[in-house]
Amino acid sequence: MNADVRAMKTPTEQALSAAFVAARGKLPGNGAVLALREQAFREFDTRGLPHRRVEEWKYTDLRALMRDLYPLASPPDVAARVRANSAGKLLGGVEIRRIVFVDGSFVSELSDLTPEPGLSIGTMAEALAKGDPSVAAHVGQTFATDDVAVALNTALMGDGAVIRISGGAALNRPINLVFMTGSDKPSSAFMRSLVVVEKGGKATIIESHESGDAQVNAAVELVVGDEAQVNYIKITQARAVHVATLLATVGARAQFNSFDFTADSSIVRNQKFIRFAGEGTKASICGVALLRGKDHVDTTLLIEHSAGHCESREQFKAVLDDQSHSVFQGKIVVKQHAQKTDAKMMTRALLLSDESEADNKPELEIFADDVVCGHGATAGALDPSLKFYLMSRGISEKESEADNKPELEIFADDVVCGHGATAGALDPGLKFYLMSRGISEKESEALLIEAFIDETIEQVAHEGIRDALKFAALKWLGTRD
């Protein structure tokens, strides 16, 4: 056996084990919930924090990045609640329903619980404590994964939102789940939410994180029913360490759009496990990350086409300044029988500094409908239209400081799959053109960066949210040195 299979526990791992043992009796839920926690904890205890020898965590070594564990957050006191008054300010101008969690606990006085037909809002802590069967049916069931960060979340999950949109209901307003730190001391929080949109339901859900010096592990389970239309937006402005997981299963003939906006963050891991479980669904999964200083943003996707005739488009962009580091790992898996799948994945990194680094690793795993096909077919050529699709705004093709490792395995005919990854600096020809008209270097760069970002932000369907995100991106650009 390899000596490094289970290295000695780090102080953080020991602290996490101790925290679980200490909190076990106080965490919400008994019986089945407790059994779920115990099982998840054993998973963590056996494997420890994810580290660089775990392929999926290669670029974000939590064992090295989490030198210590911050104390588990306590419910917010008055001072913390006051500090949390600014919750959700990025979308301040948007007509929206806010559900606010401070230091991992639901705060009703900051939340909008106005009744709306077809919408039910609850909290995870309450649902777990009561053993609510409609919640228990989903928790830990949406997308099975052996990911240790998810296991840790399951072991220690405290509060979170439970949102249900009943069949055919269309929400009047987007729902904004706001998770923020109010404490002025370092703290850690494990949050778990569940969003169920039943058949034909229509909803826009925004998960916002605004954290100070906090170690956050947040997971959301999302069930998108047949024919439902769901826009899921995640806004992350998180200092310290932020690990977020989306576990989603999407039904047939649905429309699912996911968008990530990450800025002003220190260490972020955004991982998404998304399964297309019914035929005829269209999805777009996009994101923009803005990094500077020593920011580290890791986007890791596992997109599973389990049913045929679905279309998915992934488009992720990062803008990197200073010594920042972005990671994109995107894996598309097309299961047997998922014929006529049309999946395209694209990632681009814009490097503003020679010291910034972008690692891009798109992967495709496509299995034929039968063994014969799998044997007979060879890797298909990339769709020629993809080349056009990959051409992006204002970016030269010059590769620099980037680690691009596309992996491609195709064993099927009836699928259109492709991916592309590039990283490069701003096109000097475009910059010169703008400057030759009298526009300063800084402003020329800002115009080109804005164009690069906007192309992806334009994927956000809701106008008010889209504008707020564009404004936030401009603000970030405006504070560039």
């Binding site: 992006s392 705004r393 204002g394 000097p428 020809g429 475009l430 010169f432 053109y433 703008l434 400057m435 030759s436 008209r437 009298g438 526009i439 300063s440 270097e441 402003e443 020329s444 115009l447 080109l448 804005e450 164009a451 690069f452 906007d454 192309e455």
Partner: protein, 251 residues
């Protein structure tokens, strides 16, 4: 003193010598044509005047109104009145034409200590200039040069020139890729901007453009220097005899 004085200019690009002691003066209000064979350094001169990176000046100077511009960034030169109409205007996806024009104009006005133009005044200015050049509102709504034909891109360059009102306009092979109708529109646009306050350099391979934009002087460039200067009749002579006669002289 001439408005533009290029003095004994030596320029290298990626360790290759392109300009070899080029000396040239352009008077205020003058239209100077620069002709020459491929590789004679015409476009290099245009880029060096506009301040493109990677053009290394090893000797000589460029004075604009008596002031050296070689240390200035492209935007500073633009604010001083230098304008280059590109041979190959680039597409700038995601940057709206109107935003681009307004940002450029206001940046130049600001650099010169002039107030920004109000939105209605700006719109009026653009509409008037665009209509002369046959540029539609629909084109103005698009991103800079994106989806424009070759002729539309060239017209867009002249539109920018009309709006920015430079003191030194350098037209780099503005005739290339244009059919005769487009050539006339572009030439009329340039002629409309002829002014005693503006110096213009028209770089071209062919005499044809000079039938429409009649130059005051013609300079022949070969192997990185001016080998002959004369009146507009020099262009006709070149058309008849070709450039071969000068290829040896500069060697």
């Amino acid at each position: 003193m001439a408005f533009l004085e290029v003095k004994n200019l030596h320029v290298e690009v990626e360790d290759k010598k392109i300009l070899n002691g080029l000396t040239l003066s352009v008077e205020k209000g003058q239209v100077a044509a620069i002709m020459g064979p491929n590789g004679s350094g015409k476009s290099t001169l245009a880029y060096v005047l506009a301040g493109k990176d990677n053009y290394k000046v090893t000797e000589g100077d460029v004075l604009l109104n008596g002031q050296s511009i070689l240390q200035m960034a492209p935007d500073e030169r633009a604010a001083k009145g230098v304008f280059l109409a590109f041979q190959y205007p680039v597409e700038v996806p995601g940057v709206a034409t109107m935003t681009f024009l307004r940002t450029a104009l206001n940046a130049q006005r600001k650099a010169r200590g002039e107030p920004e133009l109000s939105t209605p005044d700006f719109m009026k200015l653009v509409r008037a200039a665009a209509s002369h050049l046959g540029i539609s509102q629909e084109m103005l709504r698009r991103a800079v040069n994106v989806g424009f034909s070759g002729g539309e891109k060239k017209r867009n360059e002249i539109l920018q020139m009309a709006i920015l009102q430079p003191r030194l306009a350098v037209l780099d092979e503005t005739d290339s890729g244009l059919d005769i109708d487009a050539l006339k529109i572009v030439a009329e646009g340039v002629n409309r901007l002829r002014s005693p306050e503006r110096s213009t350099i028209v770089i071209t391979h062919y005499q044809r453009l000079l039938e429409f934009i009649v130059p005051d002087v013609v300079h022949v460039l070969a192997k990185g220097k001016v080998v002959k200067s004369g009146g507009k009749e020099l262009a006709l002579e070149l058309e008849a005899k070709g450039y071969a006669q000068f290829q040896g002289e500069a060697a």
